[in-house]
């Protein structure tokens, strides 16, 4: 090495050490901008005023939040219309996330007992199903559950509807809103909404449960069997407690995801049982064109998700300790 290069190298290193990490700062700025700006904008707009013509102006008003909780005419008149929408958001998301995890759990548990090759095939199949968009899935279920071409017609053609009438269960279905005087009907209903929402997130549930279940020490279940535990007792006393935390985590994650589902709710839920996510969209892009009010609802939905996540984390910590 020449004398010149011996001098140059230490100087370059020293200069690099002193130079402000511009690239690092730039990455941070871009990341923060992309992550926080939409949220900050929504929060800021939620305190603003609506301007006719789909615009808004800066302000610091709690009117939009007041409207969500007690209605626009409070204190003269109190309405819980938007809290009801929030209730349905939570209602659908809780049932669908629990349903997805409950049905994905036995499937994933049985899958982890298969050969490695069979497991790989199943995982690839399930991962590929994630490429289907919400719109595509909802369209499929829409056809499947439609009164004229879907399952109700199958029920009628195969005589299942008549059989349900004969055994007296048809009236029960009518009480539940799952039948009209002539035939069973699934649209529109809570049943169809929850079923489609659970279907939407089912592959995610399998993928979330697969790692903890595949790591489960099979000798523990075998030990339980040698001690007199039948298959259900093994599941109840060994497997479920061992994967308790991943199960709670999966339900929470899917629940938060399902709070924002739009297409499935608009297609399958009754108009009176629409969710806050639909209401947000209607406020921002629908007929009312009230961005501040839509933003206030979005913030409340976000805070609700945060609240449930915090609650879940607290429960998890308490269980772990």
């Amino acid at each position: 090495m020449s004398a010149a290069s011996q001098v140059v190298v230490p100087m370059t290193v020293a200069a690099a050490a002193k130079r402000p990490p511009l690239a690092r700062i730039a990455i941070w700025v871009v990341t923060l901008f992309l992550c926080l700006t939409p949220f900050l904008l929504v929060i800021v707009i939620s305190f603003g005023h609506k301007v006719e013509g789909a615009s808004w102006e800066w302000a610091f008003s709690l009117d939009n939040y007041q409207r969500v909780f007690v209605g626009a005419n409070w204190p003269d008149e109190v309405t819980f219309l938007y809290l009801q929408k929030l209730y349905y958001s939570l209602y659908y998301a809780v049932i669908a996330s629990v349903l997805a995890v409950l049905t994905a759990f036995p499937f994933t548990y049985l899958m982890t007992g298969l050969s490695k090759r069979a497991q790989s095939v199943w995982l690839v199949f399930i991962l590929s199903s994630l490429s289907l968009s919400e719109v595509f899935i909802v369209m499929g279920w829409d056809v499947l559950l439609s009164n004229r071409s879907g399952l109700p017609m199958v029920f009628k053609a195969t005589g299942l509807t008549q059989w349900l009438k004969d055994v007296g269960w048809f009236d029960t279905l009518r009480d539940w809103g799952l039948a009209n005087p002539r035939n069973v009907k699934f649209k529109t209903s809570v049943f169809a909404t929850v079923l489609t929402m659970a279907y939407l997130v089912w592959p995610y549930a399998v993928i979330l449960l697969y790692p903890p279940l595949s790591r489960l020490d099979r000798s523990m279940t075998e030990a339980a069997r040698t001690m007199g535990a039948g298959p259900w007792t093994v599941i109840r006393t060994v497997v479920l407690p061992a994967v308790r935390l991943p199960l709670i985590g999966s339900v929470l994650l899917l629940f938060v995801f399902l709070l924002g589902v739009y297409v499935a709710v608009t297609v399958f839920a009754e108009p009176a049982k629409q969710t806050m996510a639909v209401s947000v969209y209607e406020a921002v892009r629908g007929n009312t064109l009230n961005a501040p009010f839509g933003s206030a609802q979005a913030v409340i939905l976000l805070l609700t998700a945060g609240l449930f996540l915090t609650l879940g984390q607290w429960l998890t910590r308490r269980n772990a300790s």
């Binding site: 020490d217 001690m227 007199g228 007792t233 407690p241 061992a242």
Partner: protein, 355 residues
């Protein structure tokens, strides 16, 4: 309690036969060790006895009852797993009384039994601890107590010492054997450690490639191996190839005297095994074959010395216990090695290679 009887048990995994036509009797109250190298089928056999694997053929009898198709949870044989398989979400006491709780035993009875079993395995006062707070030896004791809680008719242990360090392993071997003798329970232990098998077992079943090679008490297995595999796997042995010649065996230029079984006719290719502790060095008056030898290496490991020799019939290791002879041996020293007649075992040639 009843004895266990295996009649022609075999197990196929696809085209591979993991266990081949096993016929064994496990006497009531006896401790049997299934001993063999990795992959010999001993764990598969134990799992079939436990009901965790279904045999491809043959039958398993407990006393007069055929239990071949009986599910594991209905057999209720206590089993200790290699990694102990304790339930981390339960306390030590809850682990021990697991079988009682799921069987519907009252809480007070389960607690009493739990305390008695923890006392039995010397873990009194540990009932409320979590499994993660226990050492390896303590975990093994919990696993033993848990397997014994349901008062099983057969007690199964799959490599129970393999997760323990060497010192603890030796202590636990003695402890487990004493416990088994006290309870008088029919016990089957799977191990690949011949020292462990010889320490604990009333009877050893040596297995290789899914087959039973020899069954017998530990001393019989060691001193009278029935084939070259057993002679090689149990303890150490020097092997020589030879040919039977008029009731003796010719190895190279030497003719060795030994008790040749009647089935070997002259000209039969055979293999001779000789335990390293049986030959004598420079000793007169010993009946046997005397061979010239020179010392090539001396390995002194404290209680014993291995003296490596080059003899007329090939290399040989002679093991001398400290105090047995105070003579010193140096590399290059010439000596006479005597192979006593009763110390040589003869087997058909190629048997060991095939094993």
């Amino acid at each position: 309690m009843k004895g266990l009887h295996l009649a022609g048990i075999y197990k196929d995994f696809g085209s591979v036969r993991a266990v081949e036509n096993i016929k064994l009797d496990f006497a009531e109250g006896e401790l049997t060790a299934l001993l063999g190298p990795s992959g010999c089928g001993k764990t598969t056999l134990l799992r079939m006895i436990a009901g965790l694997e279904m045999p491809s053929g043959g039958s398993i009898l407990l006393g007069e009852d055929n239990i071949t198709a009986l599910a594991a949870h209905k057999r209720r044989f206590g089993m200790v797993f290699q990694n102990f398989a304790l339930f981390p979400h339960l306390s030590v006491r809850e682990n021990v009384v697991y079988s009682l709780v799921i069987a519907g035993t009252s809480k007070s009875d389960a607690i009493d039994t739990g305390e008695r079993l923890l006392d039995l395995v010397q873990l009194s006062g540990y009932g409320d601890r979590r499994i993660g707070e226990l050492s390896g030896g303590q975990r093994q004791r919990v696993a033993i107590a848990r397997a014994l809680a349901q008062e099983p008719e057969v007690f199964l242990l799959d490599e129970p010492m393999s997760a323990l360090d060497a010192k603890l392993r030796e202590d636990m071997q003695v402890e487990l054997r004493l416990l088994q003798q006290r309870l008088g329970i029919t016990t089957i232990v799977v191990t690949h450690d011949q020292r462990e098998a010889m320490t604990m077992a009333d009877k050893i079943v040596v297995m290789s490639q899914g087959r039973v090679e020899q069954v017998g008490p530990p001393q019989q297995i060691y001193h009278r191996p029935e084939n070259a595999f057993v002679a090689d796997f149990i303890g150490k042995a020097n092997f020589f190839d030879g040919v039977v010649e008029a009731g003796k065996v010719r190895v190279g230029q030497s003719l060795l005297e030994l008790k040749t079984p009647a089935e070997f006719i002259s000209g039969s290719p055979v293999q001779i095994a000789c335990r390293p502790e049986t030959p004598y060095l420079d000793s007169d008056g010993i009946a046997g074959s005397r061979l010239k030898a020179s010392v090539t290496f001396v390995r002194d490991v404290g209680p014993v010395r291995d003296i490596h020799l080059q003899t007329e019939i090939g290399p040989m290791i002679v093991e001398y216990a400290r105090g047995e002879t105070e003579r010193s041996f140096t590399v290059g020293q010439e000596t006479i090695v005597t192979l006593p007649v009763e110390g040589l075992h003869v087997f058909p040639r190629n048997e060991r290679a095939a094993a």
